[in-house]
C-alpha cells in the first residue's frame, strides 16, 4: 500500500470525529483494520509503517483500555510512543490545554492522540498543532475509534452493517460513544434505536436519525445488536436516576430483556462494565452472544489502521511503508 493511494482514500489531516467522514472513508478504514486483525494474530506483530515517527498519547481524563490500545497500536507499527497523563483541576483545565499544546508542538510529534473531558477540546487543540491529531474521546461529543471498532466487530461477525438494527442503551446524554456510533451506523445504512430513561436521553435525538425508546421491551424489538453503555457513578443515586437497583430492573441487560431482541442478537459494551448495574454477567460472558472480547481485539487493529491512514498524509511522509 503506497502513501498516494492512502491519500486518496482518507484525505484528512486529523481524525476528530465520525462527522465528516464519507462512507468510502469509513469502509476504507474498516478494510485496512481487517488486515491488521490478521497481522495481530501472528507471532510477529510488528511492522515499520511508523518507523521514526513519534506518537504522543495525551490523556486529560484517565483511561486504561483506550490508552493501552493506542499505545500497543503505535508500537506494533514501529512508532516511538510516549504517554502523558495530565492531571487537571477544574480551575486550570483550559489553561493547561493550550499551554500543553504549545509545549508538545515544540517537541515535533507526528501523531497526537488526545482525550479530554470537554466537548470540542480536541478540535481546539488541533488548531494549535502541526501534526496529525486523533480524538480519543472529547466530552460528550465524539469517540471515533470506538465507533470504528464497534463497526468492525459487527461487520466481522455478521458480514455487513447495512440493514441491521442496533440498539444503544443507557446514558445517551453523556455518551460520546453513542454519538459516534449513531453517526457511523446511520452513514453505513444501519437503523439505530436509542433506549434509556428520559432523564438520560438527549433533546432532539430523533432529529439526529435515531428512534428513541424509554423501555427495553419496545426498543429492543427486532434488534440484531444490543450495545450497552456504562453508567457513571455520579449519574446514579437520585440526580438522574433514583437508584442502581431500579436502573438494573428497568434497563440492566439480562437474559430476560435480551429475549426482546432477535433470537441471535449480539451483545456489546465499550467497557469497563458495571456488572449487575447495566449488564448481567451471564450475558456479558456468553461466548455465543457477547462481542465484548472481540471489541477489545478490534480496538488495536482499528487504531493501527487510523494511525497508518493519518501518517500517510503527514507533509514530510517519505513513504517508509514500503
Amino acid at each position: 500500500m503506497t502513501s498516494i493511494e492512502i491519500k486518496g482514500a482518507f484525505a484528512h489531516r486529523d481524525l476528530l470525529g465520525i462527522d465528516g467522514l464519507s462512507v468510502s472513508e469509513i469502509t476504507y478504514l474498516l478494510d485496512l483494520s481487517d488486515n491488521y486483525v490478521d497481522q495481530n494474530r501472528q507471532i510477529d506483530k510488528k511492522t515499520s509503517v511508523l518507523r521514526g515517527r513519534t506518537q504522543i498519547n495525551l490523556f486529560f481524563e484517565s483511561s486504561t483500555r483506550t490508552q493501552s490500545s493506542f499505545e500497543l497500536a503505535g508500537k506494533r507499527l514501529g512508532a516511538d510512543v510516549m504517554n502523558m497523563a495530565v492531571k487537571t483541576s477544574a480551575v486550570n483545565k483550559g489553561e493547561t490545554l493550550l499551554d500543553t499544546a504549545v509545549t508538545l508542538n515544540a517537541m515535533n510529534p507526528d501523531l497526537l492522540v488526545v482525550r479530554h473531558g470537554d466537548s470540542g477540546a480536541v478540535a481546539l487543540l488541533a488548531q494549535k498543532m502541526s501534526c496529525a491529531v486523533l480524538n480519543a474521546g472529547d466530552g460528550a461529543h465524539e469517540h471515533p475509534t470506538q465507533a470504528l471498532l464497534d463497526a468492525l466487530s459487527i461487520r466481522r461477525r455478521l458480514g455487513k452493517l447495512q440493514g441491521l438494527r442496533v440498539a444503544i442503551c443507557g446514558d445517551i446524554t453523556h455518551s460520546r460513544v453513542a454519538r459516534s456510533n449513531l453517526l457511523l451506523l446511520n452513514a453505513m445504512g444501519a437503523q439505530v434505536h436509542l433506549i434509556g430513561p428520559q432523564t438520560l436521553l438527549p433533546v432532539g435525538a430523533e432529529k439526529l436519525g435515531a428512534r428513541v425508546f424509554t423501555t427495553m421491551r419496545e426498543g429492543l424489538e427486532g434488534c440484531d445488536i444490543v450495545m450497552m453503555l456504562r453508567i457513571q457513578n455520579e449519574r446514579m443515586e437520585g440526580a438522574l436516576i433514583p437508584s442502581v437497583r431500579e436502573y438494573y430492573r428497568l434497563y440492566g441487560l439480562d437474559r430476560e430483556k435480551l429475549a426482546y431482541a432477535k433470537p441471535e442478537a449480539l451483545v456489546m459494551h465499550p467497557g469497563p462494565m458495571n456488572r449487575g448495574v447495566e449488564i448481567d454477567s451471564a450475558v456479558a460472558d456468553d461466548p455465543e452472544r457477547s462481542l465484548i472480547r472481540d471489541q477489545v481485539e478490534m480496538g488495536v487493529a482499528v487504531r493501527m489502521a487510523v494511525l497508518e491512514a493519518l501518517a500517510a498524509n503527514l507533509p514530510n511522509n517519505t513513504g517508509e511503508a514500503e
Binding site: 483545565k93 483550559g94 479530554h116 470537554d118 481546539l124 466530552g139 461529543h141 465524539e142 438527549p202 439526529l208
Partner: protein
C-alpha cells in the same frame, strides 16, 4: 461654543421628528432643531451633507472590567468604543471586583467616569450584597449616590423571598429592579440553547424554561408588590409572549433584548465558536424572529448591547470552559440599522429602543433632540454598508460575536454636551 449642524436628516422618536433641517447648539444645549431652525450669523457651521442626526444612544447594559479586571475593559476604553458607536450614555453593570454594592463604590464609578470616560456613565448598583442573591443592598443610599437601577447583573436572584422583599422595598424609592432571567438550577451545566444542535455538539443545554420559570415567578411577585420590574434580556418567543400578556394586564413590566440576539441564532455556535457563547444563549431562528416582532410591536422596550469584553485567554477555551459574552457597544446602532434594512422594522421604533425609552425607564435626561436638552447626539450615515472587523474595534477586548458580518449604518461623529467625542 455655538455651532450649527446643517443639511441633516433630524430623527427624534421622542418628538416624532423626522425631517431635513438644522440643529443649533448653544452652550452645550440644543437651542433649535428642525427645518425652521435658522442658523444664527457668525456661528461655526458643520454641513452634515444629508447624513442623519440622532439622539445620542443610551445603552442600558454594559459590563466593564473596572474596578478589578481592567485588562478586559476600563471605563475609558468602553467609553471610546461607545462614542464610536454613537452611544452617549452607558449604563454599567455592578459585576466588577469588588461588586458595586455600596454607595462609596457608586461614587467611585462616577468619579472615574468623570475623570476618564468621554461619554456619560451611570452605574446600576447590585440588588443584593456582593450579588449573592441573599440580602438586599441599601437602595436608598445607593440611589442618592447615583445608582439608576438595581440588578445582580449576570446573575439571577434565585431566592423568591429575597426577590419579593427587594420588589417590596424598592417601592419606597420607585426604584427599577432588573433581573437576569436564568434559573441556575435549570441551567445546571448548560452552556448553549438546549436543542438537537447541543446534542450533536455534546454540549449541555439551557432550556427555554430556565428563562420563563424566573419571569413567571417574578411576574407573580410584581403583582403582589406593584414594583417596577425589568428583564435585562429576553431570548425566547415564549418570553416575548409572557411579557406581552403581562403588559396587557397593566403590570409595571419592561424588558430588553440584545442586538446580538436580534442578529444571530444558535447556529452561530457551530464549530464551538465561543464568541457566540452568550447568556442568555442564542436560541432558535423562530425565537430571533419573535424577538424582532417584539421590538416592532413595542413588547420589548429597549435594545442593549450587553457589551461584555472578554480577553482572548478567556474565550480560547473548550466551549464549556469559555467565558460568556460579546462586545457590542460600538456596533449597537449598526446592528439595529441592519435590522431596519433587512427586516423592515420601522426606524423610529428601533431608535426609540436605544434612545428615549431606556432614558425614560431609568429616569434620565437625554435620548431626545428636544430644545433645551443636553446636546448629546450622533451623526450617522444610515445606509453605509461595512463589515465588522473585531480587530479594529475600539474596545480593549475583541470578542465580537458578529465579527466578519456585514452591517449597515456608520457613525461619523458623536457629541456629548455639544462637544465632539468621536469623529470618523
Amino acid at each position: 461654543m455655538n455651532r450649527a449642524f446643517t443639511n441633516a436628516r433630524l430623527i427624534d422618536p421622542a418628538n416624532g421628528l423626522d425631517e431635513i433641517g438644522n440643529l443649533i447648539v448653544e452652550n452645550g444645549k440644543i437651542f433649535a432643531v428642525g427645518k425652521n431652525a435658522k442658523t444664527p450669523s457668525g456661528v461655526k457651521t458643520h454641513d452634515c451633507k444629508g447624513m442623519s442626526i440622532l439622539p445620542g444612544l443610551v445603552d442600558m447594559q454594559v459590563f466593564t472590567g473596572e474596578p478589578g479586571e481592567e485588562h478586559r475593559e476600563t471605563l475609558a476604553t468602553a467609553s471610546q468604543a461607545a462614542a464610536a458607536g454613537g452611544v452617549t450614555t452607558m449604563i454599567t453593570m455592578p459585576n466588577t471586583n469588588p461588586v458595586i454594592d455600596d454607595a462609596a463604590l457608586v461614587d467611585f464609578i462616577s468619579r472615574r467616569a468623570r475623570d476618564t470616560a468621554i461619554v456619560r456613565v451611570h452605574p446600576m448598583a447590585a440588588l443584593t450584597k456582593n450579588c449573592n442573591g441573599q440580602s438586599m443592598t441599601e437602595f436608598g443610599l445607593l440611589s442618592e449616590a447615583g445608582a439608576v437601577a438595581f440588578t445582580d447583573g449576570d446573575r439571577a436572584v434565585m431566592n423568591a423571598l429575597t426577590m419579593r422583599r427587594a420588589l417590596s422595598y424598592a417601592g419606597t424609592f420607585d426604584a427599577l429592579i432588573v433581573q437576569h432571567a436564568m434559573d441556575q438550577d435549570l441551567q445546571s451545566a448548560g452552556v448553549m440553547h438546549e436543542s438537537e444542535l447541543a446534542t450533536r455538539l455534546g454540549l449541555a443545554g439551557i432550556p427555554v424554561a430556565a428563562e420563563t420559570a424566573i419571569i413567571d415567578r417574578d411576574l407573580r411577585l410584581v403583582e403582589l408588590t406593584g414594583a417596577r420590574y425589568h428583564i435585562a434580556q429576553i431570548s425566547s418567543a415564549e418570553s416575548v409572549e409572557t411579557v406581552r400578556a403581562a403588559k396587557q394586564k397593566g403590570l409595571p413590566v419592561s424588558c430588553g433584548v440584545s442586538a446580538t440576539h436580534l442578529m444571530l441564532n444558535q447556529n452561530d455556535v457551530e464549530n464551538y465558536r465561543t464568541f457566540a457563547k452568550l447568556s442568555p444563549p442564542l436560541r432558535r431562528e423562530e425565537d430571533r424572529l419573535a424577538l424582532i416582532a417584539g421590538v416592532a410591536d413595542g413588547t420589548i422596550d429597549v435594545v442593549v448591547s450587553g457589551h461584555n469584553p472578554q480577553n482572548e485567554e478567556a474565550k480560547r477555551q473548550p466551549f464549556a470552559q469559555a467565558a460568556y459574552g460579546t462586545v457590542g457597544v460600538e456596533t449597537l446602532l449598526a446592528g439595529l440599522l441592519t435590522l431596519h434594512h433587512a427586516d423592515g422594522v420601522a426606524l423610529d421604533t428601533l431608535l426609540a429602543c436605544i434612545t428615549a425609552r431606556p432614558a425614560e425607564l431609568l429616569g434620565l435626561e437625554g435620548g431626545t433632540l428636544s430644545v433645551g436638552a443636553r446636546a448629546d447626539f450622533a451623526i450617522a450615515d444610515l445606509e453605509a454598508p461595512w463589515v465588522v472587523n473585531a480587530d479594529t474595534l475600539r474596545s480593549k477586548s475583541q470578542n465580537a460575536a458578529i465579527d466578519k458580518r456585514k452591517v449597515q449604518g456608520q457613525v461619523h461623529a458623536c457629541y456629548v454636551d455639544g462637544k465632539a467625542v468621536f469623529e470618523l
